[in-house]
Symmetry: C2
Subunit: 229 residues, 2 copies
Amino acid sequence: MSYTYEYPRPALTVDCVVFGLDEEDLKVLLIRRALEPFQGRWALPGGFVHMEESLEDAARRELQEEAGIRPGLLEQLYTFGDPGRDPRGRVVSVAYFALVKLSDHRVQAATDARDAAWFSVWDAPRLAFDHAEILTMALQRLKGKVRYQPLGFELLPPKFTLTQLQRLYEVILERPLDKRNFRKKLLSMELLEELDEVEQDVSHRAARLYRFDHKKYKQLEKAGFNFEL
Amino acid sequence: MSYTYEYPRPALTVDCVVFGLDEEDLKVLLIRRALEPFQGRWALPGGFVHMEESLEDAARRELQEEAGIRPGLLEQLYTFGDPGRDPRGRVVSVAYFALVKLSDHRVQAATDARDAAWFSVWDAPRLAFDHAEILTMALQRLKGKVRYQPLGFELLPPKFTLTQLQRLYEVILERPLDKRNFRKKLLSMELLEELDEVEQDVSHRAARLYRFDHKKYKQLEKAGFNFEL
DNA sequence: TCAAAAGTGTTAAAAATACACCCATGG
DNA sequence: CCATGGGTGTATTTTTAACACTTTTGA
């Protein structure tokens, strides 16, 4: 600590874009701000980075504190640092990108005393700071990445039907997919474990359930395999 | 400015991974550190972010100051913020990824009084801080991105031969490409403007020169076209 | 005239796309 | 028995991959 050279320092925060998927739509988690600036406005969950924690730890801590959420996938998105993005002064924010299974988290967020809620990403309210820009970038990232990495499974329950999976891709990519070709492609990767179970409580033929085989994916990945659409 | 809430703040730096390509190899720009910590060790160019400049401006300023370089492409790579990555205390660094045409910059960096030099990326010296990790990530990014965005042209002179272009891809992707298929693919995109000029001063048949058509690419991109390999 | 790299076409295999019907189940 | 979504096969087109010889030029 003897080399320290002091400059004035920007403040450092993390902000998280947490996506979830339900029957209707792709959702994003927002928090209503209790304090100025932008008091009462919806914003991405986030807050100041502590001196002794890593950036990712800060993101996890804020998600836990503000929304009681432990994301299935959390990765760095981009760092936003334009002077003027925060009226309090120079604040640089490292944005994170997270996916959760709404089946695990929707109830908590709804019943929680904190003012957190899931909004359709295509129909979100006006956001505080430059959070609209961050959300846009996160969506782009999701759309780009979902095609060549098996991220989507983090948005579904552990057991899912092929129709659910197809809908996921259709919602994220914003275009319809051919049912037969979709199934052929995915099953040919041999990353889905076919279970001896079917959906329950549907008023028509019940669809078979599948599970994503994370272990097998890790193996194939090492062997040079690339997931693609 | 009335809402300010004070936390202790990490220091904030930028570090730049600047790639260049010459006849032999893919090169990265390094600076020999004049000060502790890691005095005398090679490191990525970079430095502290000033309070009134954007992150990207900080990166450009440091490149200009430390190496006299104005990159053709500069984009954010990743933010490194683990506690302990810098012995001076908590320092978070926003890493940038830059490409330059070595034809423009090799002489300057070599004759410059500052201790800057180009090293083969496959054969770089031990680096200060966690800069080896940053370099590795930048290489990964380059390898990934070069296939679906026309980045490569930023590493070549404005007029280049197809053989030069092919070599670029071979060096970055670390695998040989078929000459005929490569040419077919690239020419079929119609992004290369065929010039009425050929190489000079070669002791064999001179190859035709081409220029990348940035305007046309922008158009096609808007129309939904995707560059690919 | 030789060395060195430029340039060029075709074929076969694989992957992507387009498309329509029968099946199982619960109400 | 009917409405609802589940499930399947094939033909066509497009893309990729593999492969070898002739041409031009300067030394």
